[in-house]
Symmetry: C2
Subunit: 328 residues, 2 copies
């Protein structure tokens, strides 16, 4: 299969560790290095032989990296790193602030295109494979309604919001689809559902010493944007219970397109994920798209791209001939 694709990781949090793990299952790729803003000596790579460098060393390593996977956060890291690095590297990232995608895309494209680099932004599952299914559902069934449900799973943004409430020592928030709403959508009736009807939010909170539980509960359930439009439950637990029962990062959800063809025949397309580890799955998606980015770059496809621009065949290590013979 020729030389393995040389992958590097920028940022070694949950996502970076997930990319490391995913690469061990991809014999056509090799991890050339991990780049971190922390002290490289503090990083324990999965394979002891993997070099760990300070982020500043990246600039000198452009020649030995085929694709750089950016594993930072969408709030602070990527808006700065994407445009900074897309001029010297082919990159893949999981930028997931939906409302800012057009602006981020433009910023990355402005750097990558003139430099002849290929930059795939917003890979993962939402944005990512969920987006592909929203697009395809609508394209295949133009008359219809698309529903996205998330969960049951831990929302990082909402968990962070809880932890900012005065009196909260620690907390985890689960987004949970309402079973009745899901059943209605699957029945093909195409209901109009409000935010409150689609999801509930379940919070598990450890109080600080002396905090007023009722005040904390009220501050959470009335929090604008995050909780006020949902039915939210708050359960107080001790720190040990939170650690034991709520440390995992499961997630998932589904995209359903409910439409009609002909003279009213009901057609339903459903794409669902049940993930034991949200960051590890997202990392696995990043790695598959890194393979595609490497190929697109060699084909001369430069500038910023999204999952919408990638032919599925480029995600697979198999040849086009094999894919047609074995998977079509």
């Amino acid at each position: 299969m020729g030389q393995p694709i040389r992958i590097a990781i920028a940022g070694h949090g949950n996502l970076g560790r997930g990319v490391e793990a995913a690469l061990t299952r991809c014999p056509d790729m090799t991890l050339t290095g991990i780049y971190t803003r922390r002290d490289p000596g503090q990083i324990r790579p999965m394979k002891a032989a993997t070099p760990v460098h300070p982020m500043a060393a990246l600039a000198g390593h452009a020649d030995c990296i085929d694709v750089l996977i950016l594993c930072g956060g969408s709030k602070e890291d990527l808006p700065r790193q994407g445009p900074e690095l897309a001029g010297s590297f082919n990159i893949v990232d999981s930028f997931d602030t939906h409302a800012r995608i057009p602006e981020y895309f433009a910023a990355v494209d402005a750097v990558a295109a003139p430099a002849g680099r290929t930059a795939l932004i917003s890979a993962g599952w939402d944005p990512g494979t969920f987006s592909i299914n929203r697009l395809m559902g609508e394209a295949l069934l133009p008359e219809g309604t698309t529903y996205t449900f998330w969960g049951k799973g831990v929302s990082q943004g909402h968990s962070d919001a809880i932890r900012r409430v005065p009196g909260v020592a620690a907390g985890v928030q689960y987004t949970v689809p309402v079973p009745e709403a899901v059943a209605q959508v699957r029945s093909g009736t195409r209901p109009t559902l409000t935010t409150r009807q689609k999801h509930t939010r379940e919070c598990f909170v450890v109080l600080e010493d002396g905090a007023d539980a009722e005040a904390v509960r009220k501050a959470i359930v009335t929090m604008p944007h995050y909780f006020d439009e949902y039915d939210t439950t708050v359960t107080f637990v001790d720190a040990e219970t939170l650690r034991r029962e709520h440390a995992a990062m499961p997630h998932g959800g589904f995209v359903i397109r409910s439409g009609v063809t002909g003279k009213g025949n009901a057609e339903l397309i459903e794409y669902g994920l049940t993930l034991a580890s949200n960051p590890e799955f997202t990392s696995s998606v990043l790695v598959a798209y890194a393979r595609a980015v490497h190929r697109l770059h060699r084909m001369g496809r430069h500038g910023a791209l999204t999952v919408f621009d990638v032919p599925p065949g480029l995600l697979s290590p198999r040849s086009a001939e094999q894919l047609r013979a074995e998977l079509l």
Copy 2:
């Protein structure tokens, strides 16, 4: 949005009628004509204004057709029509004899590539969107197992096989996934399932006058390739019941990828279809891929292609900017 894409239909059976219906929901496309081997005077197009021509007229109409959708069958029609027409037209078809795809692809490519035409073969749902999900499931979760279940739905091939049994006047065969097998797969245990464990086959049969029911039943359930590896039930009904209760063409099924990430976190991807009309849904897929073929042809992408080669964005009438802003 510029000039509408000029679509023509070759063959006016269930699939051709489905394409007609699907086009009424695509304002960016226009149906320029229906081509048939039957007497054009016998064809009733959905819109009275749609011209109906004999198949032989196609040759003279190449200049006014952007994409020709081949709506013939995979057994008799397409193996001849595909290579014959791919030199003069951009085509889309639903060639679905899985074992013969490589050979059919080569035959179409040999004609389309030198002629500078774009030919997308084997669109639909299986092969088609199911194939995309088999490919992506494997690419995103390299350590795992892929399961395809079909049904509950009418299998045309198996219904035809029943009807060839002596003593059978009419018959319909349903392929039905075994609920226990599906539940096992969804649980993430990655079972090894035999053919018999995955699907059952239910036959509804109208006997000819004087036929021996038990002999017919036995001939069906022991039929090699079609039924001998399955648990098959045969229910005898009268012609009126068959017409009333078994005339619809529902189908569907699901593709499940059950895999692991990291140190054994279970991840499950499931893509499912519940179709009231199998041919109408297949036709809707053909129409969306016709849009992509038109665009790929204009981009200079010639020769034979499959759904694996098509970026999802090209299936949608929306612009890339809109897609990023609204669906990503």
